[in-house]
Subunit: 110 residues, 2 copies
DNA sequence: AAACTATATAACTAAAGAGTAAAATTGTAT
DNA sequence: ATACAATTTTACTCTTTAGTTATATAGTTT
């Protein structure tokens, strides 16, 4: 994290905030294997149509997803693959935390 | 992002949410060079004392910061350095976005 | 054209959370 | 013990936002 001025700091925080909703991560997770239309995502997530649509709009308006219209359907796809790297980093960090906790709570043989 | 089940997905989102506040990133930014006490951080950020204290509590209760008491002062320090990697990743992604926009809006010589 | 389907938008409700001021803790100094 | 200083906690206000329902838009089919 080199020299974060006030402005870029806001942008970075904003990006994190966008990724900080379980439903949005769920959508990104579904889109790992390739593009899907809104319907598909509604089915796979079990969320409401309007809700899914709003999240997708947000993600695409911030360059994380791309949008492709084909007839009645709108297909969304991953545009910024760095989100997966971010998730991986967080996962590793959380696993390390969990390992640490386990070590604390697992009594040693005496 | 390998196989994120419902549960880990929530945890990852939660971590992002924690990092999704400008003031918290500001605090992490201040702590890059080493530990600081609450007062120092209040001065460096210009935020209210209670506010800073709450953010620090949150960050340390989630393993991102560590806490060390010394007399009247409480020193906070980075415990999970991966947060800087996360910020770097986001910065790179945002820079790429900005570069793309510039390319779109900069007319070529014809 | 009308009927239908997929998606987006608008308006609303409810919950979460950032900031603040005041009171409570905790530790120090006199 | 009293006074003081650093930090935390509590209680509150205000803003933001996720989810929902209903409506609007865009495209298709008959």
């Amino acid at each position: 994290m080199g020299k974060l001025n006030e402005n870029t700091l806001e942008h970075v925080a904003h990006r994190f905030k966008i990724l900080g909703e379980p439903m949005r991560l769920k959508l990104l997770n579904c889109l790992q294997k390739g593009e899907l239309c809104v319907q598909d995502l509604v089915e796979q997530t079990g969320a409401g149509q309007a809700n899914v649509s709003k999240h997708l709009s947000l993600l695409s308006s911030h360059g994380i997803l791309g949008r492709r219209k084909k007839g009645l359907h709108v297909y969304y796809f991953i545009k910024d693959k760095s989100v997966y790297d971010l998730c991986d980093l967080v996962c590793n960090s959380l696993e390390k935390d969990a390992a640490g906790l386990q070590q604390v709570f697992t009594p040693r043989q005496s």
